[in-house]
Symmetry: C2
Subunit: 142 residues, 2 copies
């Protein structure tokens, strides 16, 4: 995909320091190109839950997701960058890739790792899936 | 790594349409940030050669590498972007990562695939190694 400039940037956010770094990086790009950022958080409803009711678990994830998106929005505001929030439910990489395709993003800016030691594995896996399967360029921030 | 803007961009070039796309993308960034691009080509001297003498094979690779860098330079000139050429010998990902670390690049812009059906596998592998091991952000262009 050849673009002379970025018009639509998507940043997957999971509340980790890695996604915060990606967001800071994306804010710098957004300021340079004078565009807004879309922040996406995916509620991963595909995991097997054992110790709590599925309903309670998903509500917890949704509340966490809202907080993550709100914090990300404050980060963009602090940097004088406009943003919009997107929340999806499903398998993270799949949801993000479908959204990118549907909304024709020019760029995904993503951290290379995610939350915690176990989730880091999952989020790492999300980054890899985005790099391998996205139709648009993917910027992996360290 | 947090940077307010890009000052040093490195583009690995292998002569494939994928690295040409990455280079075009990098030229747009370079124009936006008013900086030059470094073009790097690595002579992969780590492969096992069977049918020709190693010396002849390496000379062929060096000649090919020069042509790739010259073509890449013409591409940047056409887009009014300044560039410099870097040629290394060794394992591609390792050489690129060492150079990035030594010269403190802000960004690597790389294609997601490389030359031919077999080499594509190798270059794909180079992109993956860069994404996984680089200390600076990596932009994977499709």
């Amino acid at each position: 995909m050849q673009k002379s400039s970025y018009k639509k940037i998507l940043v997957p956010v999971d509340g980790s320091k890695y996604s915060n770094r990606a967001l800071t990086h994306a804010c710098n790009l957004a300021k340079k190109y004078d565009i807004k950022i879309s922040l996406i958080h995916v509620i991963d409803n595909s995991r097997v839950i054992v110790f709590v009711s599925r309903k309670d678990y998903l509500n917890e994830l949704r509340n966490f997701g809202k907080k993550v998106l709100e914090k990300a929005t404050r980060m963009t505001e602090k940097r004088q960058v406009k943003s919009e929030q997107v929340m999806k439910e499903g398998k993270p990489a799949e949801q993000i890739l479908n959204f990118v395709k549907k909304e024709r993003y020019d760029l995904i800016v993503v951290g290379n790792k995610g939350l915690g030691s176990i989730d880091r594995f999952f989020m790492g896996s999300v980054s890899t899936k985005l790099v391998n399967n996205s139709q648009c360029p993917v910027l992996v921030v360290k």
